[in-house]
């Protein structure tokens, strides 16, 4: 499977085969999740209708974390095995992950204003999400910082891999910093069991967003592969004329 996909043409063929059913399923899950979440589920007895932000906020937060782990793994595959698709996947994933981090921060701010009375709170979770967002930006910037695009692949892969070790330390230090400065009274503990009427749309949204992420990443990978192919063809054309 791993070696099989090393050939971009094979990957393209497999992607073409999978993309339509995946996209259809993602759309179906998201539609069902949004309907159940935004319209059919009961409002929270404390939070009222604002609780519906959760159906977008939580999946986005999950994806941000997942995307960051995936980014580190892509870096590992690229450095150790020089897998040609790992670099493409890393470049395809990073902006999508950054976007989900941004979405998490925005929905969090929108949720925080009615619940906590402030758009932003220097809470450990919020802060580490913000730093994760900066980290995504750093990976994207480094991958595109060189005159020849492929030159940025290895530094970006190394950074993603270093981040896999270092970002947990950042998270730990931020947690530490916050627990010393203020009690964790603002964050609602996750111990509250969720009613099935709310859990079902949340799970649907989680599955739907993850599939959506996969579809977008595959589409971006196809686009990046096509871009490289065009660049290679152009280069061949130029040298052909010269020779």
């Amino acid at each position: 499977m791993f070696d099989y996909l090393a050939n971009p043409t094979r990957f393209m063929r497999l992607a073409d085969l999978l993309i339509v059913p995946m996209a259809a399923l993602a759309a179906l899950l998201l539609a069902a999740g949004l309907y159940l979440g935004l319209l059919a589920s009961p409002p929270d007895y404390q939070q009222g209708d604002t609780v519906r932000i959760m159906y977008v906020h939580v999946p986005a937060a999950w994806l941000t974390t997942l995307g960051y782990v995936a980014l580190g793994l892509c870096g590992l595959f690229y450095i150790v095995w020089r897998h040609p698709l790992a670099d493409i996947a890393l470049r395809a994933m990073a902006p999508v992950g950054a976007l989900f981090a941004f979405l998490t921060l925005v929905t969090g701010a929108l949720w925080g204003k009615p619940m906590w009375g402030a758009w932003w709170v220097w809470d450990a979770r919020l802060t580490s999400m913000l730093i994760l967002f900066f980290f995504y930006i750093a990976v994207i910037a480094l991958a595109n910082a060189f005159d020849t695009p492929e030159r940025g692949s290895r530094p970006a892969a190394i950074l993603a891999l270093v981040g896999l070790v270092n970002v947990p330390i950042v998270k730990f230090s931020v947690d530490w910093w916050n627990t010393l400065h203020q009690p964790a009274s603002l964050v609602r503990s996750g111990g509250v069991s969720i009613d099935p009427a709310m859990l079902t749309p949340l799970l649907l949204m989680l599955a739907g967003t993850h599939l959506f992420f996969a579809v977008v990443v595959i589409l971006r990978m196809k686009a990046l592969l096509a871009e490289r192919r065009i660049a290679a063809l152009q280069l061949r054309g130029i040298t052909g004329e010269a020779g």
Partner: protein, 223 residues
Amino acid sequence: MNILFAQMRRDLALIWAGRGEAAVMLAFFLIIITLFPLAIGPDMATLRPMALPVIWIAALLASLAGFSRIFAEDVRSGWVDQVALSPLPLGIYALSKAVTHWLAGGLPMLLATPVLALMLYVDLESLAPLILALAIGTMALTLLGVLAAALGEGARNGGSMMALLVLPLAVPVLIFGTLASTPDDGGLLSPHMLLLMAVLAVLLAIVPVAAAAALVEAETDSS
């Protein structure tokens, strides 16, 4: 071992020859610290609680200024190619760069800190933890800088790239450093000081390997 000393002697000689550059970094540190009272106001009561964070942020920003050129000259002149061919591993070379860069940039900042701390009304008894924490912290920052310099070597916008790469990863250094600097934190070797040392130890393990992997690319790119 001899090659390592030769490498470090060379770097130190180069730094000494261009000592104006290291002085600029120190001046940058002084200026940032001067700016804070100008913006906040000269009041002792407001300045004193801000003194330690201000010194830390100034050290962080002043360190950033010197990072982007750590490997630039060596890559351009082909020195890194020679190191890659020599028995000196690239990781150890990167580590020696961190040591010399810290001696040129971190150490002068450290020596200037007591005077600046007094200017910001820091108590004398909190000077010892501040200096120790700052010494460990600047070493950790220099290691992050070496990593960032190796990753961003040859990048189009070197300077701003350094800030983007270093600052998110420098969060633990800043947090544990400022906490360890406060005098009522339980002695010189407080838990936060030990955590700061742990961060330095982790970076000591990661940075040479990662920087060497990045330098291979920079070296093949230049030739």
